[in-house]
Amino acid sequence: MSEEYSVEIVNPEKSFLSKDDVTEVVVPAFEGEIGILKDHISIISFLKPGIIKIFSKSGEESFYVNDGIIEFKNNNLSILTSLILNLKDMDKEKISEVQKSAEEELKKPEINDQEKYLLDQKLEVIKSIN
């Protein structure tokens, strides 16, 4: 029995990534990181800002996501997200850009607790990449 399953990442503009030979995916779910292996029970969850790690035969890939939903069903993992960036493509400039916009958001007086939590999370993740 192979230990592989397929993953698809879509953002509103296009299908971002699709792979058939994935052995494990680690996603930053709202209540903590989840690692998903083959034959995981069907699950729906949503994501907080963080890093998605995809382990496959061809190696390991990491992506930064802003938010998203995941659905795992019949060994198909779908990740819907509005903003996703490949860590490989993220240079210093881009990182500081995201960081700056998050910091500015955080300064706004009208944000609520949940938004604040998400933004804090975002900053933490971004700083950890740096």
Partner: protein, 291 residues
């Protein structure tokens, strides 16, 4: 009858118009391909989103406590209509068709004695609606500056809608846009997004048991606002493909018409030139004869 000079001027002016329409057609064709591509690429996202929401809403046990975005707030008094049109003109019946569809809906709402509120997206919709429904328009949004349709624009519209819903400014929300079928046909669509209409019942494997993290309702209440933005984004993509398609066929027609007109005018020009020559000849001959 127009003089030769006038005809000549008209011919050259029609010809230059034809040049413009031809160029616009080419540009629209190029843009259409891109818009169509992005509309197709955008489909998986909204389809997936839809199926997840369907799965979730099937899993919800008590409808009473379902999020309001899904089931509505139980009232049906104030209707909000988001009319999505283009920012530019010269695209055939594109905007008119949407407006026509929207006006039917407006009339129905007003006839039933309900309150109507309108948000226009795109400059042309506002221009066409401001005379009749100026008082009903509460917001006008235009994305003239952004070159391509992008998700963040859609998200902005979505956030406005949700904010208004949370302030209880309306009960039912519908969006109007053109669905792209092919270059010649675009179908004006009316789609209700709040409360969400789950028209297609999931037949297959709805007894699939999902594990939810966190709880269903929490996921749903997080997901539904996103879904609204997604639906609006989808509408924007369809709209931009339709706009280019519509413009392309309109400009194609215009080019053809201009061609016909040039032919007609050229014949008229040649005839009157011939007539002038004949007249001159007669004058010379009769002048010579009388000597």
């Amino acid at each position: 009858m127009a003089s030769l000079d006038d005809l000549k001027k008209r011919i050259s002016s029609v010809k230059s118009t034809q040049k413009i329409t031809k160029a616009m057609k080419m540009v629209a064709a190029a843009k259409l391909r891109r818009a169509q591509e992005s509309a197709e690429k955008g489909r998986p996202y909204s389809d997936k989103m839809n199926s997840i929401i369907l799965n979730l809403s099937n899993g919800i046990s008590d409808i009473e406590n379902a999020p309001k975005l899904l089931s509505g707030n139980g009232e049906d008094k104030v209707h909000l209509c988001v009319v999505m049109t283009s920012d530019r003109g010269l695209c055939g019946g594109f905007n008119t068709n949407i407006i026509k569809k929207a006006k039917q809906y407006f009339q129905k709402v007003l006839d039933e004695g309900k309150t109507l509120k309108i948000i226009t997206v795109g400059a042309k919709g506002y221009d066409q609606l401001k005379r009749l429904y100026g008082d009903n328009i509460i917001e006008r949004i235009s994305f003239k500056d952004s070159k391509n349709v992008n998700y963040f624009d859609a998200d902005k519209v979505g956030k406005i809608v949700i904010e208004k819903f949370e302030k209880k400014e309306f009960d039912v929300c519908a969006i109007f846009y053109n669905q792209f079928k092919n270059v010649i046909t675009q179908i004006p669509q009316e789609q209700q997004i709040i409360p969400l209409k789950t028209s297609e019942k999931e037949e297959n494997s709805s007894e699939d048991n999902y594990e939810f993290e966190p709880e269903e309702d929490e996921i749903l209440s997080n997901l539904l606002p996103k879904n609204i933005s997604t639906q609006i984004f989808k509408a924007m993509l369809e709209n931009s493909a339709s706009e280019q398609g519509s413009r392309m066929s309109a400009m194609d027609n215009a080019t053809r018409n201009a061609g016909e007109m040039v032919d007609k005018l050229t014949i008229e020009y040649n005839r009157s030139r011939q007539a002038a020559i004949t007249k001159e000849l007669i004058e010379i001959i009769s002048g010579a004869e009388s000597l």
